[in-house]
Symmetry: C2
Subunit: 365 residues, 2 copies
């Protein structure tokens, strides 16, 4: 039987705290499901490592990671270490070098999760964001001219390649088709007169191969409004790196907050490991106090199980999270409770175990 | 006495319908306030004009506009005319060539306006967005290489000049100081490693001259979340062209919808005319039916009065709008009513007249 090799990078701030709960849940799955086994290797990289070694990861870090099936990342970033070091030296480096060109972010209002929208029902907020994750606005290309002079000018160039644009859009069409859902593209062709005109063109071209997939195309400004006023418009959404960043944080805001926001960075052809992470960041203000919400990290584990080929177990973890949210007796302060991080993890494990014991879940996937 | 010269471009779709209500209100102000007089010149430009003449405005259009104190614009854009023609040939052209580098968008939840947020009170949503309006992501700079080949790549370059960045940030500090409010900058330095690092640097540098102004700096993704979860965080906000576009539409979503969203494109040194417009666009689906909401267009008139130097009258127009919203017997369908566009305009005029007659407003500004 395959034993999955997982590289764990707990990282900074609350990263280690939430990651241990995710591993706890993974452990429970392996005990409940005889068809699933995994090994973990821990990598102590991040800002503390940087403080000691002057680099965010080992020199051979990427090779070491490469030997694994997946990467499980807590959070990166800490006050004092500039972002261009912490992020470009770890998170963004891995996303790019491992060609994790698909960033999947489920925006789903689970039962029991708080929603700030007056009129939104649970069914109204159920989207799958597919964000381009390897190039576009985040290509890191630019120039800084005449620094310090009156004629100083700074250029930031978004890079949209045919290959990069086509593959993410194709991935989105495939996903929408397989789920039998609407596909919405978000762009801004009326103002970004090169990149987004190209994006719209590719979206239309590739669409010809998917006549069965119903599509919409929104401007990013309109999309951000619709997310609030009519979230039910969205099912599968494909968008660029920057727009995906903004809209998925907005999505987190309407589906329970960052404490419930998970993300998967996928290399779909599986040449390189994919990476799973809660998207909340390192939250230095509450780090080390054992009160961080681990549910996003646990949701990322659900995404990992799905990617490994255990969709029923992925769904079961979500149902366990939902049960904890609904019971409301073990929640962290961000969700109005007083529980500790580890208690929440324990409760998810208990809920998951209950589901299996009561035969609400098939024993092997 | 100065007579203000206003160039009116009703434009496309619902533009003409809402603009007449704005002019109606301006007319009422001039009747109520002996210190205010204006003249209008109408310019029939837009997509219909384009269909007849193959251009969005007259060849000497910019010169003709230049002779005016302000431009009052309805909306631009119609299905069939590509955006790069309709917008870059009129709206964006005027913004850029008249150096209207400040885009002011009030996000204010008026009494009676609907808000989709469960827990937000009227006082929580009261922001003034100051959006860079002349360059940045909308510079229109880019390249389209190897078109149609596998190595095709499309570049979109944001252009952030020292002059352009400094002047908008300075304008924002001045505004925050004069209103005695917090100033928040929204950027994305952790991923946009040239432009937004520069933005943050300028924000800090200029800030040294305004030690009395309290500031915050948010990432655009975090900001979009806070807009929903804690809108009370924001008072005066300064941001780039693209981020301002997205966040102000989000702002519209939480403060009554596009039917209430106004915008001013200012050339603060008054070398060129400034332009006032509702930001809802041409809404072709409801054009010509007399049911478009004119309140955003009327709010823009309030901004124009403020810019001309009649702040009390600007505020009075807002209070009249608020009264109409609160009474709720004359609202257009987007706000749940059955009234026609013109009836709403009439009601605003009646409310304004009432305010003056009851001496709730000083007779001259
Ligand atoms: C940390 C930052 C660079 C990152 C991004 O913008 O991609 C984060 O916000 C995210 O969304 O994963
Ligand atoms: C029409 C479009 C180019 C414009 C913009 O994005 O600036 C509009 O959305 C706005 O916000 O005024």
């Amino acid at each position: 039987m395959k034993k999955w090799n997982i590289a764990v990078i707990p990282g900074d701030g609350i990263g280690p705290e939430v990651v241990s709960e995710g591993i706890k849940v993974l452990q429970a799955v392996s005990e409940l499901n005889p068809a699933f086994a995994f090994d973990c290797a821990y990598f102590p990289w991040g800002c503390e490592y940087y403080a000691k070694h002057g680099k965010m990861m080992d020199d051979h870090g990427m090779e070491q990671l490469r030997a694994h099936d997946a990467i499980y990342l807590g959070a990166v970033g800490y006050p004092g270490v500039p972002d261009h070091i912490s992020l470009w030296g770890l998170l963004l480096k891995i996303r790019k070098e491992f060609d994790q060109y698909v960033n999947i972010r489920p925006i789903r209002l689970l039962s029991g999760a708080p929603c700030p929208l007056r009129d939104a029902a649970k069914e109204d907020i159920d989207m799958l964001f597919i964000r381009e994750n390897s190039e576009g606005e985040y290509a890191g290309a630019g120039d800084w001219l005449f620094r310090g002079k009156p004629e100083e000018v700074v250029l930031q160039t978004g890079v949209f390649s045919r290959k990069g644009t086509e593959r993410i859009i194709r991935y989105a069409y495939e996903t929408a088709r397989s789920l039998n859902k609407l596909l919405t593209s978000v762009s801004k062709g009326n103002a970004l007169n090169y990149s987004m005109v190209f994006w719209d063109q590719v979206f239309e071209e590739v669409g010809k191969e998917y006549p069965d997939v119903k599509t919409y195309s929104y401007l990013v400004d309109a999309a951000s409004m619709f997310m609030i006023k009519q979230p039910q418009r969205f099912e599968v959404v494909v968008t660029s790196n920057l727009f995906g960043d903004i809209l998925t944080d907005l999505g987190a805001a309407i589906s329970g907050g960052l404490g419930l926001a998970a993300g998967a960075n996928l290399n779909p052809d599986r040449r390189y490991p994919s990476m799973f992470e809660p998207i909340h960041g390192s939250a230095p203000d509450i780090a080390g106090r054992g009160i961080a919400n681990p549910l996003a990290a646990i949701w990322s584990v659900s995404q990992m199980l799905d990617f490994f080929g255990y969709p029923d177990w992925a769904e079961a973890v979500l149902r366990a999270i939902e049960q904890v949210l609904t019971d409301r007796d073990t929640l962290t302060p961000d969700l109005g409770g007083t529980a500790a991080t580890a208690e929440v993890g324990d409760r998810v494990v208990a809920a998951l175990t209950g589901l299996v014991r009561r035969h609400e879940l098939k024993p092997v996937q």
